[in-house]
């Protein structure tokens, strides 16, 4: 056995280059696989891994926001849920921006997490006091806060919460399991939910209100501000679907104090399990699937590479196998020997993969905030090893059993490979070409996209962006008309929009021309803009649009083609029906006129295709619950900043303006993210491509080796080398055509998803032609080199 392994090692040394390739490929595969396995439980369990009970018992309650995310809900809503017969028990967890004091140091505007007293036991967080009284008197601080703390030992100190200075004692740091909940934004302090009202900052101004009224107002604000997520457990026999009949949010009116939540129009968001940001989790899951796909890609690639090697070996070692059989080996003993020979490979790969995985775990998992326990990691390693062994066995034993079945041992004189082996070789070449071209196509698509972004960035206007928003939710939102009037009065041009210019998360609404049939309507993004917007951004057709957009909506070219409309006078006769029309200030089912058509704006930074857009008039909206974005030429930025500052001071604390800086800087920032993405994609693509091209080269050499005696015969009877090379190229051409068919079918299928996810268009003519050029070059070079390696030998040797 040991001698088999040693013999195998000697065999491997002969194929050092191929061995190195295999080690790289298999290590990447094993690393990815271990990562996938290790991160899966936390990602796919609906409750965090540290909660042991059944997923279906829990429902997380929030509000459905415009973008379809879950946002925080109110206590009032939670008590509505609590009254539902399906609910057994409820609890909540929330965040407020609050102030507190430790000794003489004051902290303002810090993120404080509060959780209801029974939540720790509901979730099984053992690190937090389970006794409610004890929990109410305790505070937990973040690691970062503890590390930055200067002064006497923090643990044991008293923290005075809010204006009423309620005392709690620091007992420990916040449990890791809570910190890494994606929704909770780096809390500084964790306290009991009984301090919620204490933590609320309410500005009553200078109004001389009686304390009782103030207390009641504070209580109502606490009931109505969306600061928290609920977690409920269900009674036996109920499921999350039973909660779906809960009504929408409510408004309440009491004793002359009017409180509106500002989220009244939002539905409940019910999420089975415990997850405060299911949207973020879904994004993680998407990344996980991408990783798994990569893992499978590498697995297939590796099996193919190993197959190449073992086919070649099988052919070269035919005589050796025959001799072994002649001296008494059975096919089974040879198979055992072949498997043992692969052990050095498998062990090297596992070792390298372990290093790779641990390194990426350190980085990736910290970034992802996913829990991993050692047992799942070990499980991942074991699973990867099993897959690796299966792949190795498959690819080593398949060519051998083909050889054995054809009983070529008895006729070992014949050097020609069997047709099955040749077919296997051809299949391998097709697969390698397909992989290489897919990888190249992907890399070039990413590069093309980046190049386009660079172009866009160059075209970005020299504008400065400010945003103007409410800092709380207890109001009617911004009075748009008044605000726009004020802005119009400024002595310089200011464009206003409901979404940011760079990378806006707009609502893609179903839109249809002629009939309000939304089922097959296109998803088109909606934005409300002020009338100066198009002029300001210097858009073709902009002046007309600026004048016209009070009459109807403005479409860009992409929206026109999405709706199958042509840019002619007739288009203004069209009426549109927009499902989310109220986003732009239109009623349901209201026919909307097309007022103008503009060029595609350059502002959708990371998308390489022009995004279909419909612009409404901002003035149609009476109020807006979100932020407004203001754009001004850089030379007037200081003036506008001053104006907003004054306005904020006049309107009080609830209003807030932010200086978002130069647009071009934002684009650059986005570009950096993209750069990283492109770099990783190109790196992966180069890795895949070089793996498959090198393997293709060896497979071609192998195919030629199988045919070497045939080539010798042909040369002996007078064939010329170019005729033989022509034969090789013809074969390669046929295989390439086959591979291209596979590639284009695959790409056509996955391109829509990919361009949504990564913004890369794999069917872009530039990407396709670059890919074809490189591929042809690589194929020609590897075919020529492989051919020369055979032809270098004298014909006499080919015939032996």
């Amino acid at each position: 056995m040991l001698s088999d392994i040693r013999y195998g090692w000697r065999q491997w040394r002969q194929y050092a280059a191929q061995m190195a390739l295999l080690v790289i490929g298999f290590s990447v595969f094993t690393g990815l696989m271990m990562l996938c396995v290790a991160t899966a439980p936390d990602l796919f369990k609906k409750t965090p891994t540290w909660v042991t009970a059944n997923d279906t018992e829990y429902v997380t309650i929030g509000l459905r926001s415009h973008e379809g995310h879950m946002s925080q809900t109110t206590l009032a809503n939670l008590s509505t849920v609590n009254a539902h017969p399906a609910v057994k028990d409820s609890s909540f967890l929330g965040t407020v921006v609050a102030s507190f004091r430790i000794n003489d140091q004051s902290f303002n505007g810090e993120n404080v997490v509060f959780m209801q007293d029974q939540l720790p036991s509901l979730l099984g967080i053992t690190a937090i006091a389970r006794d409610p009284i004890q929990f109410q008197q305790s505070a937990y601080v973040s690691e970062a806060f503890l590390a930055n703390w200067q002064g006497p030992e923090l643990i044991g100190q008293t923290v005075l919460l809010g204006e009423s200075e309620t005392p709690v004692k620091v007992v420990d740091t916040i449990p890791q399991s809570l910190v890494s909940q994606p929704g909770l934004q780096e809390p500084v302090l964790l306290v009991s939910g009984s301090h919620f009202s204490t933590l609320l900052t309410v500005d009553f101004g200078d109004a001389p209100l009686p304390d009782a009224v103030k207390a009641r107002a504070r209580h109502m604000i606490m009931q109505e501000t969306p600061n928290l997520y609920g977690v409920v457990t269900l009674r036996a026999g109920f499921s999350s679907a039973d909660l779906a009949d809960l009504s929408k949010g409510r408004a309440s009116k009491e004793e002359g104090i009017s409180v509106r939540s500002g989220t009244d129009s939002m539905d409940f968001y019910l999420h089975q399990g415990i997850d405060f940001t299911p949207h973020a989790t879904n994004a993680l899951k998407r990344q996980w699937w991408i990783m798994l796909v990569m893992c499978v890609v590498f697995a297939v690639l590796n099996v193919l590479n190993l197959l190449t090697l073992s086919i070649n070996q099988c052919i070269q070692r035919r005589a050796e196998f025959a001799t072994r059989v002649a001296v008494g080996a059975t096919p089974a003993t040879i198979q055992k020997q072949l498997l043992l020979e692969q052990l050095p490979l498998v062990l090297t790969c596992l070792g390298l993969a372990l290093i790779l995985t641990l390194a990426s775990l350190a980085g990736l998992v910290a970034y992802w905030g996913v829990h991993i326990d050692v047992m799942t990691l070990v499980l991942g390693a074991v699973l990867s090893a099993l897959v690796l062994l299966a792949a190795v066995s498959l690819s080593v034993l398949l060519p051998f059993s083909l050889l054995a079945r054809r009983q070529l041992f008895q006729r070992s004189r014949s050097q020609e490979a069997g047709p099955m082996q040749r077919r296997l070789g051809h299949l391998n070449v097709v697969a390698q070409i397909a992989f290489a071209s897919l990888a190249l196509l992907f890399a070039f698509a990413m590069l093309t996209q980046q190049w386009q972004l660079r172009q866009q960035q160059a075209a970005a206007p020299a504008a400065h962006e400010f945003s103007w928003s409410r800092s709380d939710n207890v109001n009617n939102g911004i009075d748009i008309k008044a605000f726009l009037n004020a802005v119009d009065g400024l002595p310089y041009a200011v464009a206003v929009s409901s979404k940011p210019f760079a990378n806006p998360d707009t609502i893609a609404s179903s839109v249809n021309a002629e009939t309000p049939n939304y089922d097959d309507g296109q998803g088109i993004n909606l934005i409300s803009v002020s009338s100066q917007y198009f002029d300001f951004f210097n858009i073709g057709g902009g002046s007309a649009a600026s004048a016209a957009n009070r009459e109807g909506v403005v479409l860009n070219h992409a929206a026109l083609s999405a709706l199958n409309l042509r840019n002619s006078a007739a288009v203004f006769e069209q009426r549109l029906f927009i499902r989310e029309g109220d986003e732009l200030g239109y009623d349901d089912e209201q026919p909307i006129a097309i007022a103008a058509v503009v060029e595609n704006l350059p502002h959708f930074g990371f998308l390489n295709r022009e995004v279909a857009m419909i612009y409404g008039d901002l003035a149609r909206l009476h109020s807006i619950n979100q932020t407004l974005y203001l754009y001004v030429d850089v030379i007037h930025a200081a003036a506008l900043r001053q104006w907003l500052q004054d306005r904020q001071q006049r309107q009080g604390q609830l209003w807030q303006f932010d200086d978002n800086g130069l647009l071009i800087e934002q684009m650059e920032q986005m570009n950096q993210d993209l750069n990283r993405l492109v770099m990783v994609s190109v790196l992966v693509a180069v890795l895949i491509c070089s793996l498959s091209i090198t393997s293709l080269f060896y497979q071609l050499s192998g195919l030629l080796q199988m045919r070497q005696r045939r080539m010798g015969v042909l040369l002996a009877v007078g064939a010329r080398s170019y005729q033989l090379f022509g034969q090789l190229l013809t074969l390669l051409l046929a295989l390439t055509v086959l591979a291209m068919a596979v590639v284009f079918i695959t790409v056509t299928m996955m391109n829509p998803r990919l361009s949504l996810m990564m913004g890369a268009d794999m069917l872009a003519p530039a990407a396709i032609s670059l890919m074809l050029a490189i591929l042809v070059l690589l194929l020609l070079v590897s075919a020529a080199v492989a051919f020369m390696r055979i032809m270098r030998r004298p014909i006499r040797q080919l015939l032996q």
């Binding site: 006729r411 004189r413 014949s414 020609e416 047709p419 005696r709 045939r710 010798g712 015969v713 042909l714 040369l715 002996a716 009877v717 007078g718 064939a719 010329r720 080398s721 005729q723 004298p794 014909i795 006499r796 015939l799």
Partner: protein
């Protein structure tokens, strides 16, 4: 005296000149005339096959001159050599070197594909003729693996004859065959010789060598005596 078909001057061949050099040929000078039937004999490893493959343009000499059909080989390009192999040389190997996934007829036809001298319409006719010559006209559709060793060697001879070469080179054509088949193959070669084909035959068999017109004996890479 017949015309000179091939002539070598001081041919040498060294294998592995960079590692442990093997001097397979140490200066061979010989002349073969049209219509001769020559046997090359000598101990195993003395360089017979090496000499034959150089004469048949399957390998190149390390030094020395070689003229075939009046052409100096040193001056010829690879393509010109391929054309010479195709038109003037027929090869018969010890291990037959037939292509297993081609039928007998296809194997025999192979050299014609690389030869413009014969129009396509005459291929079948020629194949039938040479197969008839070697006595295998009923096996045209068979595959090499379905034939006996002797039959396979006849196919190889038919393939060598199809372009009507000036010289037939045979490296131990009967090495894998029993003595009865050996004699049959040899008679076939003698027949061809009588019809005017020049034949160079490497053989270990004293018996066969003595039936040839002339015997060249090689010892350790040199020609010992030309009879």
């Amino acid at each position: 005296m017949a015309a000179v078909l091939l002539k070598t001057e001081n041919l040498t061949k060294v294998f592995n000149p960079n590692r442990v050099p093997v001097h397979a040929l140490r200066g061979i000078s010989l002349t073969i005339h049209e219509g001769e039937f020559v046997a090359i004999s000598g101990k195993s490893g003395c360089g017979k096959s090496t000499l034959l493959s150089i004469l048949g343009l399957l390998d190149t000499p390390t030094s020395g001159q070689y003229q075939l059909c009046g052409a100096d080989l040193a001056q010829l390009s690879g393509y010109q050599k391929a054309a010479l192999r195709n038109r003037h040389i027929g090869w018969v190997f010890q291990n037959f070197n037939l292509i297993n996934d081609m039928t007998v007829a296809e194997n025999v036809m192979l050299p014609l594909k690389y030869n413009q001298a014969w129009p396509k319409s005459t291929y079948t006719e020629r194949v039938n003729k040479v197969l008839n010559d070697v006595g295998l006209d009923d096996k045209a559709g068979a595959y090499p693996s379905e034939l006996s060793g002797g039959q396979q060697q006849r196919v190889a001879i038919a393939r060598a004859l199809i372009t009507e070469p000036d010289i037939l080179l045979a490296d131990e054509p009967t090495g894998n065959l029993d003595s009865q088949t050996e004699q049959a193959i040899f008679s076939l070669l003698s027949d061809l010789h009588r019809r005017g084909v020049t034949i160079l035959l490497v053989t270990h068999s004293r018996n066969l060598a003595q039936q040839c017109q002339r015997i060249l004996t090689i010892s350790d890479g040199t020609l010992v005596d030309a009879e």
